[in-house]
């Protein structure tokens, strides 16, 4: 409980730091800020004057920052310099895709990871175990852009008839929408799934070796399969819930890469495009939204953990048996 309160107390500070950093990015750009924001209209004094007046760039940094935060809290994240549309609208339209991808990616990773971990435990010491764990070790060392690119490569070689699978919006066709995200999610799952697999296998292995209730179950005559299914797995998977939550947050933050490769209309790709166009309001707004989600999600996971794991609540170390 105390830990939770400490974390909550740190939240405002974190939020301030994050927003300060995000806002401050604009000022890292070498050169005059007005010129930067003017973009292509860099030689047009009228446009530049408007920008300067609108954003009050002659005011002290902290005042500008406070103003920006105030507006952001009301949902106004400025105007995109390339498309002249409100940044908030642009992000909102795309956030759904990013979230969808992250959800799907996490789900598939958990499924793959748990299944693989289960198999590795079931056939401990045998070839399957070694193969799976080798994949797990290698899988964790693959950057997401590599796995995504290789998958695209694999598709183009092995299923050339598939053509370009473009994203289907969820509202139009939920199932098709999920299907269109299958490969991107898979590329994420290769890496995350490996991590979950190692987790499950590690926790399960530890339980097998050390837990008293496993010994008890065996002494009562339970077969290996039963021991595994009813005693080891539930306890090994329990902490996974929080890890999955954290991983989901991680995928949100890392969506940039996969969206770019698969040309998905997500918030991450929006940011990358904006980088190419020097559209700083969009960059700031996009980074802010995703980062905030990440921070809040992490906090949420921290709060849920005691609810999920009764051991933490009770304060003892009794496992379910």
């Amino acid at each position: 409980m105390r830990y939770l309160l400490t974390r909550l107390a740190g939240l405002p500070l974190t939020l301030v730091a994050v927003s300060l950093l995000t806002f401050g990015i604009l000022f890292l750009v070498p050169g005059d800020t007005v010129d930067v924001l003017a973009g292509e209209s860099i030689d047009d004094p009228v446009v530049k004057a408007r920008i300067a007046a609108e954003l009050g760039l002659d005011r002290p940094f902290l005042v500008q920052y406070a103003d920006w935060v105030w507006r952001a809290a009301q949902g106004d994240l400025g105007i995109s310099t390339s498309s002249q549309r409100p940044v908030a609208d642009l992000i909102w339209a795309r956030l759904g895709v990013t979230v969808q991808l992250a959800v799907l990616g996490t789900l598939i990773s958990v499924l793959i990871g748990v299944a693989a971990g289960f198999l590795a435990l079931r056939f401990r010491g045998r070839l399957i175990d070694r193969l799976i764990m080798t994949w797990a070790a290698v899988g964790m060392s693959i950057p997401s852009f590599v796995s995504a690119t290789l998958i695209v490569l694999g598709i183009s070689i092995m299923l050339p008839s598939l053509g370009v699978v473009s994203y289907v919006p969820f509202s139009r066709d939920p199932l098709g929408s999920m299907a269109s995200l299958m490969f991107p999610a898979l590329s994420l799952a290769i890496v995350s799934g490996a991590m979950f697999c190692r987790y499950v296998q590690g926790a399960g292995d530890d339980i097998f070796r050390n837990a008293d209730y496993v010994r008890t179950a065996r002494a009562k005559g339970a077969g290996e399969r039963r021991v595994l299914a009813r005693h080891v797995m539930p306890n090994a998977i329990l902490p996974l819930v929080t890890v999955a939550g954290l991983q989901f947050a991680q995928l949100l933050g890392g969506s940039v890469i996969v969206e770019t490769i698969f040309s998905l209309p997500g918030a991450g790709r929006l940011i990358i495009t904006a980088i190419g166009e020097r559209d700083y309001p969009v960059i700031q707004g996009g980074v802010l939204v995703i980062t905030l989600s990440y921070v809040l999600l992490n906090l949420l996971v921290d709060m849920i953990y005691p609810l999920v794991d009764p051991r933490i609540r009770v304060g003892g170390s009794a496992g379910r048996s």
């Binding site: 740190g10 500070l13 974190t14 730091a17 994050v18 950093l21 995000t22 990015i25 604009l26 890292l28 750009v29 070498p30 070790a137 290698v138 964790m140 060392s141 693959i142 950057p143 997401s144 852009f145 590599v146 690119t149 290789l150 695209v152 490569l153 183009s156 070689i157 050339p160 947050a249 991680q250 949100l252 933050g253 890392g254 940039v256 890469i257 770019t260 490769i261 940011i271 990358i272 980088i275 700083y280 960059i283 700031q284 980074v287 995703i290 980062t291 990440y294 921070v295 992490n298």
Partner: protein, 284 residues
């Protein structure tokens, strides 16, 4: 007159764990390749030629790219720059983070609290995204990249070192030194630092493996070392255009970077095993 026990006293070669051997030899192999492969290449990494998008051949063991440059040379020069940037950044991040962690552990109290709150803030934010934003703003360059990488990983390193340093600080010989009136910088340097040496090296290897992922991802997005200098991520990005007819750039660059990441991961795990897992702090 050697005061300090020789650093290799506990490190007889034949007792090293297999992971360390595997990772170490792999890393050395790749390192050697980054030195020699470009020299052996016929046309070098920058020279365009008419031999466009060729498959591997004797002249070009890994093929050529869309403007006829030798892939082998490009890949290994790219790896070289990854090695250098990530190696430097990891060493710096762990050194600085380690100092912060040790000081936080030794002084405890409010110093520790403040430092760890700062660390918490850094750890709360998604690193890749912020790295992207910062580099986009600053303009990519080797220096900016190093700065961003170091800043991103200092917090984690300081956390890890702090844990080990706390264990050491609790030992009686530190209390004895305090009682004797030894100044804090001598205690930190002579008692705490040597006894967290193991952790520090493991952290460097682990940090390198994470940094390699981020560095290559950043260069994939065009935010790494700027062209024409080749970098692994950039080679893969370029290669995407023609990948149906000429997948060689992607395959070779991907394999090489994954191998390097694996190597550093194995080294980290091997070192960790060697210096004892639950037994991090050296006991007399």
């Amino acid at each position: 007159m050697n005061q300090m026990a020789k650093p290799l006293r506990g490190l007889s070669a034949f007792s090293l764990p297999p992971l360390l051997w595997l990772g170490g030899s792999l890393a050395l192999l790749l390192l050697a390749a980054t030195v020699f492969a470009p020299l052996l290449s016929s046309t070098g990494a920058y020279m365009p030629s008419a031999a466009v998008l060729e498959s591997p051949s004797w002249a070009h063991p890994l093929g050529t790219d869309s403007i006829g440059r030798d892939i082998m040379a490009r890949v290994f020069i790219g790896l070289r720059s990854s090695f250098l940037i990530v190696g430097t950044s990891a060493a710096l991040a762990v050194a600085l983070g380690g100092v912060i962690g040790m000081l936080a552990a030794y002084f405890g109290g409010p110093v520790d609290w403040v430092m760890m709150r700062l660390v918490d803030i850094f750890l709360a934010v998604p690193t890749l995204l912020l790295a992207v934003a910062v580099l986009a703003a600053m303009g990519p360059s080797a220096i900016a990249l190093t700065v961003v990488l170091v800043a991103t990983f200092i917090p984690h390193a300081s956390r890890v070192v702090r844990v080990a340093a706390l264990q050491v600080t609790a030992q009686d010989y530190v209390a004895s030194a305090r009682v004797s009136g030894i100044p804090w910088y001598v205690i930190v340097g002579k008692h705490i630092l040597p006894n967290v040496r193991g952790i520090v090296f493991v952290q460097m290897a682990v940090t390198m493996s994470y940094m390699l992922v981020i560095e290559s991802s950043l260069s994939f997005l065009g935010l790494g070392v700027p062209p024409p200098a080749p970098s692994i991520g950039y080679i893969i990005a370029e290669g995407r255009q023609w990948m149906e007819i000429a997948p060689w750039p992607i395959i070779s660059a991907s394999s090489v970077i994954v191998l390097l990441i694996l190597a550093t991961t194995f080294i980290g795990q091997g070192l960790d095993q060697h210096w004892g897992n639950g037994n991090r702090v050296r006991r007399a």
